[in-house]
Amino acid sequence: MIVPFGHVLVVATAMFVTGLAAVLLRRNLILILIGVEVMLGGVGLALVGASALWQRADGQVLAVLLMALSAAEVAISLAMVVYMKRRKDSLDADAFRELRG
């Protein structure tokens, strides 16, 4: 036995919550995206820990698929960051509020 499963989950939750707080508090678009990456890292840790708990490889496969997903997400969102920077010459999330009622 390495550690109780609960400790793995607590570490994963702590990472996820840290990333979530960063997404909610930061206003620079790039730093918001970094917060999303931190959240996905916590999710990956929970998946691999669950794979070790049940002694099956499914969690590891899902962690690999999660990596593919986050690569796609980063490609799209960084392209959108470049586009927004070109349009408004700003990376501040508050600069994009045309849809505000």
Binding site: M1, I2, V3, P4, G6, H7, V8, L9, V10, V11, T13, A14, M15, V17, T18, G19, L20, A21, L25, R26, N28, I30, L31, L33, I34, G35, E37, V38, G41, G44, V48, G49, S51, A52, L53, R56, A57, Q60, V61, A63, V64, L65, M67, A68, S70, A71, A72, V74, A75, I76, L78, A79, M80, V82, Y83, K85, R86, L91, D92, D94
Partner: protein
Amino acid sequence: MQAAIFYVLSATALIATLLCVTRRQAVHAIVYLIHALFSLALLFYLLGAPLVAAWEVIIYAGAIMVLFLFIVMMFELDPAHEAARPGPARRWPVVALSVAILACSVALALADPAGARGVEAYHASPRAFGRLMFDEYALAVEVASFLLLFAAVGAYTVGRSDHRVEGGEGQA
């Protein structure tokens, strides 16, 4: 011994994450995030997933973070770029909710008997891993490949320079 390594690596990952999300300069945040990802990769290795650990380093820390660095370098951000830090009025709800979630998670881990079950490192052989991934999860792999293709096309379309987009609309 392995438990000690687990706790040291977890502390490293969490501290690096905290430093990462509190930096003002994007480059510093990215470097701290790479640090956290390396700790995470070692944690994966400790839990018995060497392949995921290797890909975490190669794909995440190697490819995705370099992409972030390229974008940051492209923009030449000045350190004072970010607007004034959010005041307490904007900050305390987020902090309170985060602490609540974390406290609930700790309480659950302590109270739930299932959480006290120890995890053993599970080493899947490459053959078993590959069979699971490309046999049972073949559909998920196909969907992921479509997703990556669409992401590449989408990133190209969004990232084109503006006048070419407008020209295309004008002809249509």
